[in-house]
C-alpha cells in the first residue's frame, strides 16, 4: 500500500527553475556577508572605545595615586608633575592599546 504512495511521490515533479533560485540566493548571501562585516566593524569600534576608556580611566587613577604619594607633590614643582602625569597617561594608554589591539583584531576576524 505504501509502495503506491512512494511511487506517487517519486513521480512528483514540480518543474523547478534553477537559475532564478541560484541568483536570488547569491543576492541574499551577499547581503548576509555585508551585514556580518558591518557587525564585525561595529564590534571592533565598540571594543576600541571600551579599551580606550579603560586605558584612560586606569591612567587617570594611576596619576591620582602618583600625585598622592606621600611627599612626592612637595618635592616636584607643578610643571614637572604635569609633564610626568601626561607622559604616564600617554604611556599607559599606549600599552593598553598595544595589548588591546590583539583583542580587537580577534574580534575583527570573527
Amino acid at each position: 500500500m505504501d509502495d503506491e504512495l512512494k511511487a506517487l511521490f517519486a513521480a512528483y515533479d514540480p518543474m523547478l527553475e534553477q537559475r532564478d533560485f541560484a541568483a536570488a540566493l547569491e543576492v541574499r548571501l551577499d547581503a548576509m556577508e555585508r551585514h556580518a562585516r558591518t557587525a564585525r566593524w561595529a564590534g571592533g569600534i565598540a571594543a576600541t572605545g571600551v579599551l580606550s576608556a579603560l586605558a584612560l580611566l586606569s591612567s587617570t587613577q594611576l596619576l591620582t595615586v602618583f600625585t598622592q604619594m606621600n611627599g612626592f607633590a612637595n618635592e616636584l614643582d607643578d610643571a614637572l608633575l604635569s609633564s610626568a602625569g601626561q607622559w604616564t597617561l600617554y604611556g599607559v594608554t599606549a600599552i593598553a592599546l598595544f595589548f588591546g589591539w590583539r583583542r580587537i583584531r580577534v574580534l575583527l576576524s570573527l
Binding site: M1, D2, E4, L5, K6, A7, L8, F9, A11, Y12, D13, P14, M15, L16, Q18, F21, A22, A24, L25, E26, R28, L29, M32
Partner: protein
C-alpha cells in the same frame, strides 16, 4: 564554477568550510532541487518554498565551519531542512496535531484533477503540519520510522501512528491516482 562540477562532495564541503563561495555554489547547484522539492511538498506555496530552501542554504553558509566535520552531508542537510521547516511552522501554525484536525482534513475532497504535482501538493496541504512532515520524510525522502523519530525527537510509536494516519488520508484524497497506478486521471501530465 564549471570546473567544480566533477569534484567530490567531500572536497566541496572542505572548501566551503574554508569560505570558498564557488564550492558552496556548486553544493547549492547539486542539492537545491531536493531541498526545494521537500519544501514545496510541505508548504505548497512556490514562493514560500523557495524562500525556505534559501534559508536552508543561508543557514548552511552561516555555520559553514561545521561542514568540514560532517560525515553524511545528506543527513546534515536534512536536519537543517527539518529545522527550518519546524521554525517556520512555529511562527505560522502549531506543530501539534489533533485528531479533530485530522478528521477535518479527511473530510476534504479532491477537486477536479489538475496534474499530479498540484494534486499531491493540495492533498499534503490538507494534512496537519507534523503529519505532513512525517509523511514527506517517510514517502518522499525514504526515511524509516526510527530515523524520523530521531530527527523530530518524537517517540517511535507516535511517528508510526502519524505516518499511518497521514498515509490513509492521502490514499483517500488521491484515490484516483492510486487506482490507476500513479497515472493521472484522464491521462493529464503536470
Amino acid at each position: 564554477m564549471g570546473q567544480l562540477a566533477s569534484v567530490a562532495e567531500s572536497l566541496l564541503l572542505a572548501l566551503a568550510a574554508n569560505g570558498d563561495r564557488g564550492a558552496f555554489a556548486e553544493l547549492v547547484q547539486r542539492r537545491q532541487p531536493g531541498v526545494r522539492r521537500f519544501m514545496r511538498q510541505l508548504c505548497r506555496d512556490e514562493t514560500l518554498a523557495d524562500d525556505l530552501a534559501q534559508q536552508v542554504f543561508l543557514r548552511l553558509w552561516r555555520g559553514r565551519a561545521r561542514l568540514a566535520g560532517v560525515v553524511s552531508f545528506g543527513g546534515y542537510l536534512r536536519q537543517v531542512m527539518v529545522s527550518v521547516w519546524v521554525d517556520e511552522t512555529r511562527t505560522r501554525e502549531p506543530l501539534h496535531d489533533t485528531l479533530e484536525e485530522e478528521a477535518v482534513s479527511t473530510a476534504a475532497r479532491l477537486p477536479p484533477p489538475t496534474g499530479l504535482a498540484q494534486d499531491l501538493e493540495w492533498a499534503l496541504a490538507q494534512l496537519p503540519p507534523r503529519t505532513r512532515l512525517c509523511v514527506v520524510l517517510c514517502h518522499s525522502e525514504g526515511r524509516s520510522h526510527s530515523e524520523i523519530a530521531a530527527l523530530l525527537d518524537l517517540p517511535l510509536g507516535t511517528v508510526k501512528s502519524t505516518v499511518t494516519r497521514g498515509s490513509a488520508t492521502l490514499r483517500t484524497l488521491l484515490g484516483a491516482y492510486l487506482v490507476e497506478s500513479t497515472a493521472p486521471p484522464g491521462g493529464g501530465k503536470e
